[in-house]
Amino acid sequence: MTLSRIRNFSIVAHIDHGKSTLADRLLALTGAMDPKKAVDQVLDSMDLERERGITIKQHTVRLPYLRQDGQEYTLNLIDTPGHVDFSYEVSRSLAACEGALLIVDAAQGVEAQTLANFYLALEANLTIIPIINKIDLPQADVEGTRRQIAEILGLNPEDAIPISAKFGTGVPEVLEAIVHRIPPPPGDPAAPLKALVFDSFYDPYQGVVVYVRIFDGRARAGMPALLMSNGRVYEVQQVGVFTPEMKPVEELAAGQVGYLTAGIKRVADAKVGETITDAHRPTAASFPGYRDAKPMVFAGLYPVEDTAYQSLRDALDKLRLNDSALTFEPETSLALGFGFRSGFLGLLHMEIVQERLEREFGLTLIVTSPSVRYRVVTTGGETLEIDNPSKLPPAGAIAHLEEPYVRAAVFAPTEFMNPIYRLAQDKRGEHRALEYLGKRVHITFDFPLAEIIVDFYDRLKSISKGYASLDYDFLEFRPSELVKLDILLNGDPVDALSVIVHGDKAYDKGRALAEKLRAVIPRQLFEVAIQAAIGSRVIARETVKAIRKNVTAKCYGGDITRKRKLLEKQKEGKKRMKQVGKVEVPQEAFLSVLKS
């Protein structure tokens, strides 16, 4: 296959604009997949992904495309994750391509992630083909969307291809445009091997399967592969392509996209962005821009049953094989016992990990309130980073505290500007820039990350009737007036309920938190006093009254089975309770901390 017959491209879009549907269409149309076997949206193969309608892990597939004139092309579709938590992965996928299909929903128009993805594609020097999708919808506004593409993105509106991925309308034109407009990959098959890792997954039989784009040279089984970021060398065991099933091939040469296996044990050993070269004949320089996916959000994961600690460790180990962004280390909580402090890219990532641990490994977990990583400058001049509020040094030892800020772009119709500004103010946002783009505004704020990790996105969606969208990136640490808010149950501080909050918000937060806990902590055999305190100063107090009566009045012969079943039901309800001192605290209490 000569380079001139290869095209490497991605599809990028705002969430729900139809990326997976178009990918399915392309697969069906090129015969990469038997339509009879088609499961809707094959590329989103994880159950969770399908349920949530989002792509978390990326997938890639080789499409054989036979043009009308009899010429055969190889189109490599490199799928990208579709959530704001995963923008680094998107950028690496794009680096493996020469072109991108930028989908815009004809009914929704350009949204924040359309824009964010557009900029990522521009940065990667890709040829962009705008696609206007969902033209079959009654509320589709193709001309208006064309105008937005011109006004907001600065692309030629005539280049946009109107399609309905759902019904297949316009999809053949998309295939033609891929061949026509996207340049073939550059590269020198004779040069030393230079391959970019843009994804990987763990296979129990073959070890890590690494997705690669070959830029120069050739990869084949038996050659020693050098991973340039960590200097490790592995022998390549197999190279192949995705059809979408894995199919071994003799070699992958410059310009091609495929996979290789080399007995690598964990995905963390061959991270996205890594450069692979021939250990005997290394390439001169690795790809620029490699960075570790850094967790932004941290939470404690604790098994409800103390005996499940080892199972939790095993499950996390297994998940990490496949998820290089997941970090965890053992931690002990006075309240919750032994668990793990885990780092996540964002709250969605955290929820996915929790759900997988519970669903795939049958664990019942307590997840503590998510926290960001704070920086502490001590009076001794030392700088510490803490990701667990209970680890904060005593107030006297702290010179000052810093918290992470992000730069966030909110994109919305102009009519929602006021509520958005109000929300931003409530979340300690600092306005940076405002740009009118047709009937929409693109507002830039700086936010403390802690303010937006929990309910910001939901509230933004609700105040804008779903029209506003959000994109953000880490900016910097900034000094901040932060305090540690402790929660005491019957006088004993519960470390797992401590949070770090801004001083101005501490009082409201403490009161809201105490109220929320009163609502979720069930009545016990004794009264439970809930106090919120800063240092030794109690700022809020609530009481959960003691249970007065819990009795089965009648229990005779015929009723014993039924009464036992009623008790079993009660027990089921207690499954997610954790004994904290003498008090039984339900799972949701720990997550209610940031939601109050």
């Binding site: 004794f526 819990n550 009795v551 089965t552 229990c555 012969g557 014993i560 036992r564 027990k571």
Partner: protein, 383 residues
């Protein structure tokens, strides 16, 4: 699937209990979820024939003749709808098939309005030696609200009738936590009932059981938990002062007059259930007869035992149940039955809800009232 051969008492157990269910009432009470339907003489006649056939079928089992029967209990429904001769017919049939001793406790649940002097004497002659009188309340308005057919006066009269007929072992059923019942009125009821000096007293806090009219439609004026709790304690105090032993969560007795039949249940002992919807417990198996009277009769007319449901208890379930049932009694259980929940036992002790003495672990009266919170913890983990 179990076979009938599996339904047999274990070799070494104590005497069996026999429960007979009489599934008819003149009117369903509004709080009631039991298996009962409207009384019709013809239906009663057909049912009694079927019941006798069931007695025969169970009596055919090789173990039946040898088994000693410690207690017989006629429950319902309204067993006192049975005429004295009908009662005699049933007890005759039982004596023919099983070994009933003169000392066997034979109890009949009676509604005050259906207990005449003649019937009470007839029952005694037939071999009944204990009556349980469904008084429920001594407030005329409340009795109507509950759907009962008797007045307070009829209740008083029925109690006297039973005494005059020669019954020296009488139980009274009462209810509290009722809509519109206040603490003062309840104390008044308790005071009067205790003055009757029944040998035994059962008092149940109202529960809205699934299947009852009140569970479906709701009911206005239910007292709050504090009031129900105060009523529980008022009864406990007055009964103790009057010499009654609070021997089970909802049951009180003068010395020597505990319900022997009901203790069979709480001690995890074996019993045979006869009649529609009646349950039995033999070996590891708890079974239940079909509930609809029509189906029950039809099966027996075809010569088939009317089994409906059964469960074979696992060892873990048996152990959980014996703890849960045993702790309902003031006798409590051996401490090693609670070895698996040691910290909990300590916590309950420190709260005054449980005590360990004389080689037994038992709930206090305060502990009775919160007992489900402990029982939940005795259940085996869900599979």
């Amino acid at each position: 699937m179990i076979g009938l051969a599996d339904l047999r008492p274990s070799q070494s157990g104590p005497a069996l209990g026999l429960y007979l269910h009489i599934p008819f009432c003149r009117q369903r009470c509004h709080y009631c979820s039991f298996n009962t339907g409207p009384y019709r003489p013809a239906a009663m006649e057909r049912f009694l024939t079927a019941l006798c056939r069931e007695i025969d079928l169970v009596g055919d089992a090789d173990w039946a003749g040898r088994a000693s029967i410690g207690t017989v209990f006629f429950g319902g429904g309204t067993p006192s709808l049975l005429e004295a001769d009908e009662m005699e017919r049933l007890l005759e049939r039982l004596r023919k098939r099983f070994s009933l001793a003169p000392a066997t406790e034979v109890t009949v649940e009676c509604n005050p309005e259906s207990l005449t002097r003649e019937k009470a004497e007839g029952y005694r002659l037939a071999g009944v030696n204990r009556l349980s009188l469904g008084v429920q309340s001594l407030d005329a308005g409340l009795l109507v609200k509950l759907g009962r057919l008797h007045s307070p006066e009829e209740a008083r009269h029925a109690f006297e009738t039973a005494r005059h007929a020669g019954f020296d072992n009488l139980s009274v059923d009462l209810m509290y936590g009722l809509p519109g019942l206040d603490l003062a009125r309840w104390e008044e009821t308790v005071r009067e009932i205790l003055a009757w000096r029944p040998e035994h007293l059962s008092a149940y806090a109202l529960t809205l059981d699934a299947g009852s009219r009140w569970a479906r439609s709701g009911v206005a004026g239910l007292p709050d938990e504090d009031t129900v709790t105060a009523e529980y304690w008022a009864l406990a105090r007055r009964a103790a002062a009057a010499g009654y032993e609070h021997y089970e969560i909802s049951n009180y007795a003068r010395p020597g007059f505990r319900s022997r039949h009901n203790q069979v249940y709480w001690r995890g002992e074996e019993y045979v259930g006869l009649g529609p919807g009646a349950s039995g417990f033999l070996g590891d198996i708890r079974y239940g007869n079909v509930e609809p009277v029509e189906r029950y009769c039809a099966l027996l007319e075809a010569g088939t035992r009317p089994l409906g449901t059964y469960e074979t208890l696992t060892t873990a379930q048996r152990q959980a149940e014996r703890g849960i049932l045993g702790l309902r009694l003031s006798d409590g259980v051996p401490p090693d039955w609670l070895a698996g929940v040691g910290p909990l036992v300590e916590a309950w002790k420190s709260l005054g809800l449980l005590e360990v003495a004389g080689g037994r672990c038992r709930l206090t009266e305060a502990g009775f009232w919160l007992s489900d919170s402990l029982f939940v913890e005795l259940l085996p983990p869900a599979p």
